[in-house]
């Protein structure tokens, strides 16, 4: 087989044409390289049934849960640049009084303090790990905090027509290319959005977008809408990192049991002396 150089040599009577061919060849090689590089980047994210595979244990390093909005350091929160697009949550004027009341009472009123389900999207950027288990039909999210379990259905089903108000809402996901878009609604009004007292009503509607930036990083964005509380939808964005520590695992945390677990299996004074350590 002749090399390209030899072929050009054969055709050296047509210099312009040869140069064009050479240029085309180089362009072809460059485009091949670029295509290959892009493919490699795409191949770097794990896949399951052709879709991005989010399986793993994830956690944010952001200060989002302390306060979604930009904030200076304060007694109960490290400083944070905020994760709200535009820097401010667009509360309705009449909703601000409750926001302020929540902030003032946050050391007692935050549902987190009872170990209760954090809700959506708070559970995602709460500073504790959660694990995603993925199948073609759904994603199962187990949050270490409270050991809450959320299912994101990805089997082309829709929200129930006569739903309850759920703590974690009802989640239906669809794929937009390599991004999982999840529509979540039918919430109750009992969870907060962060520990500074940002809140929502039972009209909360969240649209999440989950994208793997690489094998170990998720870009998580959410559009938050609530006609009873906000004047318009607003966006947040956080990065989630994969836990890669050796033997890392969730450790169950049913912290709502801490109030009474000292009585079981028997109070300490009932333990036989031989067993007391």
């Amino acid at each position: 087989m002749k090399s390209p150089v030899n072929r050009f040599a054969v055709n050296n009577g047509l210099c312009v044409s040869a140069s064009l061919k050479k240029l085309a060849g180089i362009l072809f090689l460059v485009s091949l390289f670029i295509f290959s590089w892009q493919s490699q980047a795409a191949e770097k994210i794990p896949r399951l049934n052709g879709k991005p595979d989010f399986s793993g244990i994830w956690q944010t390093t952001s200060a989002a849960d302390y306060d979604l909005e930009p904030h200076s350091a304060r007694i109960d929160a490290p400083p944070g640049p905020g994760v709200v697009e535009g820097g401010e949550i667009p509360y309705k004027p009449e909703a601000l009084a409750k926001r302020k009341q929540n902030f003032d009472n946050r050391f007692k009123a935050d549902p987190r303090l009872k170990g209760w389900t954090l809700g959506v999207p708070r559970g995602i950027y709460y500073p504790e790990p959660f694990q995603i288990f993925q199948r073609a039909r759904d994603l199962t999210l187990v949050h270490q905090f409270g050991h809450s379990v959320r299912t994101i259905h990805t089997n082309n089903t829709d929200h129930p027509q006569d739903p309850n108000d759920w703590w974690l809402g009802d989640s239906r996901g669809k794929w937009d290319g390599d991004t999982l878009v999840v529509d979540v609604k039918h919430f109750n009004d009992e969870t907060w959005l962060d520990r500074s007292g940002n809140y929502h009503s039972d009209a909360l509607h969240v649209v999440e977008r989950w994208t793997l930036l690489d094998a170990n990083t998720i870009e998580y964005t959410a559009t938050i809408e609530d006609e009873k509380v906000f004047v318009r939808p607003w966006n947040i964005s956080v990065i989630l990192h994969r836990h890669r520590e050796k033997n890392f695992q969730l450790v169950e945390d049913y912290r709502f049991t801490l109030d009474y677990d000292q009585y079981y299996p028997y109070p300490a004074e009932r333990a036989p002396k031989a067993q007391t350590k």
């Binding site: 399986s55 009123a109 549902p111 009872k114 170990g115 209760w116 389900t117 694990q131 288990f133 993925q134 199948r135 199962t140 187990v142 050991h147 809450s148 379990v149 959320r150 299912t151 259905h153 089997n155 082309n156 089903t157 829709d158 929200h159 129930p160 027509q161 006569d162 739903p163 309850n164 759920w166 703590w167 974690l168 009992e190 033997n247 695992q249 969730l250 450790v251 169950e252 049913y254 709502f256 049991t257 109030d259 009474y260 677990d261 009585y263 079981y264 299996p265 028997y266 109070p267 009932r270 036989p272 031989a274 067993q275």
Partner: protein
């Protein structure tokens, strides 16, 4: 904050009841009509035996036998641990129970007398819990599940229906009260150090309601070792408990064709028992039985396709509950029970 006095079970029933009154979406009426013809999930008086052997059903991509779906126990709930279809503590049966042999056997299959081999002090304590179940004048007399605490390794299988989901390297149980993640490894890797699928148990200083589970498949049987037990749950409303040194060895033996499995668990704890002992709980799939708000709590998914898809709803106990189940509490997150 307002407390809700609706249990997940009631929520499930309410949801399905209200769905019935709706105009049809897609084939809902047809699906509902099909479900209405399904038989009731009945309690059985005998334990369906399944032996360990080959798995003859479908497998998942990672080779695990596919046992995903909704299951429930076939005998009874945890009301009475060693006489499962016997009397509820502190209550007189509406109709006389009749001779013991007319009811399902004790869940305790070893030792042969069907009783947990307690040390004397522990038996006395169990009897005290039993005696005070219906009038709990001390916090420890309140059965922990009534406070929405997880049921522990075995009791979770004799409460409501539950779901099994499987993933590469994991089998996950989703119960009404809590969930359990079983970390799977290949039996051949059991004694290899540093294998990806052979993660060691958590440090034993960590103690958990549902323990820390490691397991492997062999044929039709899932073998699981549960350590890190806090042993704070009770086996039954009859007051049986385990101790703080408990190790549980479980076997889940599946019969694909029958849609059943037999669960057995051997408890070892020298601090409480005089010898290891073993319990059994038979279970079967619930999808082909009528929705009953107890064993089958599934709803009908809303979609435009032709096939019936069943789906579970969120199961959250503490936040929704005012306590339930006899001798329970009112209110959640209280530092002491309201008696």
């Amino acid at each position: 904050m307002q407390k809700k006095l609706i249990t997940p079970k009631i929520l499930s029933v309410l949801t399905l009841t209200s769905l019935l009154a709706l105009p049809a979406f897609a084939d809902y009426e047809q699906w509902e009509a099909e479900r209405a013809t399904l038989p009731k999930f009945e309690r059985e008086k005998t334990v369906y035996r399944v032996e360990s052997g080959k798995w003859n059903g479908p497998r998942l991509a990672d080779g695990q036998p596919d046992v995903q779906g909704q299951w429930s126990n076939t005998i009874s709930n945890h009301t009475n641990f060693t006489d499962p279809q016997g009397a509820t503590p502190g209550e007189t049966p509406r109709t006389p129970l009749g001779p013991r042999e007319t009811r399902a056997p004790s869940r305790v299959v070893d030792p042969a007398d069907g009783q947990i081999p307690y040390q004397p002090w522990a038996r006395a304590l169990q009897q005290e819990y039993l005696k005070n179940f219906n009038d709990p004048v001390k916090p420890e007399y309140v059965e922990p599940l009534a406070r929405c605490a997880p049921g522990g390794p075995s009791k979770s299988f004799m409460w409501h229906g539950y779901e099994i989901r499987q993933f590469p390297g994991y089998l996950v149980f989703l119960f009404d009260s809590g969930s359990r993640i079983i970390h799977l490894y290949k039996k051949a890797d059991k004694n290899k150090k540093g294998e990806q699928n052979n993660k060691p148990h958590l440090d034993q200083k960590i103690r958990l309601w549902n323990g820390d589970s490691r397991g492997y498949w062999e044929g039709n049987t899932l073998y699981v070792e549960v350590k890190n037990n806090n042993s704070k749950s009770r086996f039954g409303r009859t007051g049986e408990f385990s101790g703080t040194d408990t190790i549980v060895k479980e076997r889940f033996i599946f019969d694909h064709k029958a849609g059943r499995y037999l669960y057995s668990a051997t408890y070892t704890d020298p601090s409480v028992f005089t010898q290891p002992w073993t319990l059994e709980i038979p279970a079967r799939r619930v999808e082909n039985f009528a929705e009953d708000g107890w064993n089958n709590q599934l709803g009908i998914a809303n979609h435009k396709g032709k096939e019936l898809i069943l789906e579970p709803y969120e199961q959250i106990c503490t936040e929704n509950n005012g306590g339930f189940g006899g001798g329970s509490i009112i209110g959640a997150g209280n530092s002491s029970p309201i008696l």
